[in-house]
Amino acid sequence: MRGGGGAPGVPLLEAEAVERTYRMGGDVEVRALRGVSFRVDRGDYVAIVGTSGSGKSTLLNLIGALDRPDGGHVRYDGRDVREMSDTELAELRNVRIGFVFQSFHLLSRMTARDNVAMPLVYRTSSPKERRRRATEALEAVGLGDRVDHRPTELSGGQQQRVAIARALVTEPALILADEPTGNLDTRTGEEIMGLLEGIQADRGTALVVITHEPEIAGRAGRRIELRDGLVVADAVQIPTRSTPAAVAP
């Protein structure tokens, strides 16, 4: 399983009537997802929007293979996540998915390069190769001169760039970004979106962005709207971008 792999005709990611119910103490149940279906193909750029509590994060966990649905199916390259073991899911995440989180999730005791190299540690690769690929990924996000800096020595925007480099370094088929601009000011947020979009355009990596900001959602080629655990809209749209997709040199 590598970057653009998978059989033709089979979608990269397919959600079919996905349900997820949280059981609280006693008989209280929260039906966070109540039958969600959609598909993501190679190179797609999809925004998932919805108000708070509509089920976005729950959906992200499922399509990120961090969790399994209670009903319906999530399929990667035609393989049902429910039939995969924890170890297989870990491998799937490692090989096919790159995560970008709202709060960056960098380890402060490590340099930018070690943070970026982290996913490579969980596959067979030599330290030298890890180093080279991490440096390349950092160069690709415009931080070639910050490889030995620690997260605390970087601005918020730079930290998110490091996180993007970490998502990029494994050459995944899908980058999953959960509110990637949530902790950034508008200008920096736009730069970050530009960076992600550049990767999607240049490398054919599918990009799924979860956001509650209409400006961010408007940049995608497709918009899926959730409400109370159901998809209420799934439509192709003409992207509106205030700045052209800019990848740092």
Partner: protein
């Protein structure tokens, strides 16, 4: 994750929080230090004591009261002067090669000085039998013993303490209130780690000594063989003679090797016990490591969630935290070893007991400290590995 990378990750985490890591492993440091130090002291004591026995010469037989069971209660001696004489008569040149001994603590005084020391009542040939040289004057004659004479041989230190620069030969001293004449001074033996130095000994004739100490039995009979080959024959003779006079469980004949062996074994066991007691503190240290590792797992829940999102399997995370615990206690072990060896040197310098750092105590301390990490790291590591990635990522 490759072992090399895993190790790097472990050390990175340990070094990221140096003070806490040090405090966490402090119990292990102290535990290993105590094991190394106490075992070195025990080992040093063993060498010193067995060395002292070996110093008596290898052709020596010891006749001791009792059945020879060192574990049992001490037995009252049934040897009288008759037994000593019977043994001496049965052996060629027995007068020179057999010595009976009694001992007790007495106050010895002369020239206004007083010392309290061990006074031995011994046969005339004693100094030859136990291989002690006479520096000045002369030893006892058989007539001194037969005649119950009040003459004494002084250890080198006693002579100096009582007479300073004066020549003690021919002068009179008091032992337990009776007057004695000094006939000789013993050669210096040198410092001893245990008990009073042999240079503090005072010898008097066996009969005189028994009267002085008011005892009717002889504590020990020494027999010197001319050669090592003659030991067995002499032993048989001694056993036959005493067997006719005493019950079988009233005496035992040991060679010097056997005594060294028995004493060595006893001290070895003592050393192990010391080491084991110190080892308990290592276990306590392990509990501390376990505790802090649990705290660390809960503090680093988000890291665990992140690593799982990036592709870490349950066993990768478990291995990471287990290795961290082992590296932590291993470092503590190395540190404790360093301090323990250092303190052993100090002990050797300042005390008469030379501490002996042995390879096995070092290997044991390091093995046990990493073992402790493995044992006490399992619980936190498994907890870390089992964390649900979604929950872990949401953790704050």
């Amino acid at each position: 994750m490759s072992p090399r990378e895993a190790l790097r990750t472990a050390f990175q985490a340990i070094l990221a929080n140096r003070l806490r890591s040090f405090l966490t492993t402090l119990g292990v440091v102290i535990g290993v230090m105590s094991v190394v130090l106490l075992v070195s002291i025990g080992q040093g004591a063993r060498s010193e004591i067995t060395g002292a026995i070996e110093g008596l010469g290898s052709n020596l037989l010891f006749v001791l009261p009792g059945s020879g069971d060192f574990g049992g209660p001490p037995t009252r001696s049934r040897f009288t002067l008759d037994e000593v004489e019977a043994v001496a008569r049965a052996l060629p040149r027995g007068e020179e090669r057999v010595s009976g001994q009694v001992l007790g603590t007495e106050t010895v005084g002369a020239e206004g000085e007083r010392v309290t020391t061990t006074v031995y009542g011994v046969s005339a040939g004693h100094t030859t039998v136990v291989d002690r040289e006479i520096a000045r004057g002369q030893g006892f004659a058989p007539s001194d013993v037969v005649g119950n004479r009040r003459v004494a041989l002084l250890g080198a230190d006693v002579a100096t303490e009582l007479f300073a620069d004066l020549d003690p030969i021919g002068r009179s001293i008091s032992i337990g209130g009776s007057r004695f004449r000094v006939v000789g001074v013993l050669e210096v033996v040198g410092s001893s780690a245990f008990g009073p130095s042999q240079d503090e000994d005072v010898y008097v004739p066996l009969t005189t000594g028994m009267r002085l100490l008011s005892v009717s039995n002889v504590d020990t009979i020494y027999v010197r063989s001319d050669t090592t080959e003659a030991l067995d024959a002499d032993r048989e003779t001694v056993e036959r003679v005493l067997g006719q006079r005493l019950a079988e469980d009233q005496f035992t004949v040991f060679t010097q090797d056997e005594i060294v062996g028995v004493v060595g074994t006893i001290l070895q066991i003592l050393t192990f016990v010391l080491g084991a007691i110190a080892g308990i503190s290592l276990l306590v240290g392990g509990v501390g490591v376990s505790n802090i590792m649990l705290v660390s797992v809960s503090e680093r829940t988000r890291e665990i969630g992140l690593r799982k999102a990036l592709g870490a399997r349950t066993r990768d995370i478990t291995a990471q935290f287990l290795l961290e615990a082992v590296a932590l206690t291993g470092l503590g072990g190395v540190l404790g070893l360093g301090i323990g060896v250092g303190l052993a040197q100090v002990v050797t310098l300042v005390s008469p007991i030379p501490a002996e750092v042995t390879t096995w105590s070092v290997a044991l301390a390091l093995g046990v400290s990493t073992g402790v990490g493995l044992l006490f790291g399992v619980l936190p590591a498994r907890r870390a590995g089992r964390l649900d990635p979604v929950e872990a990522l949401r953790h704050d």
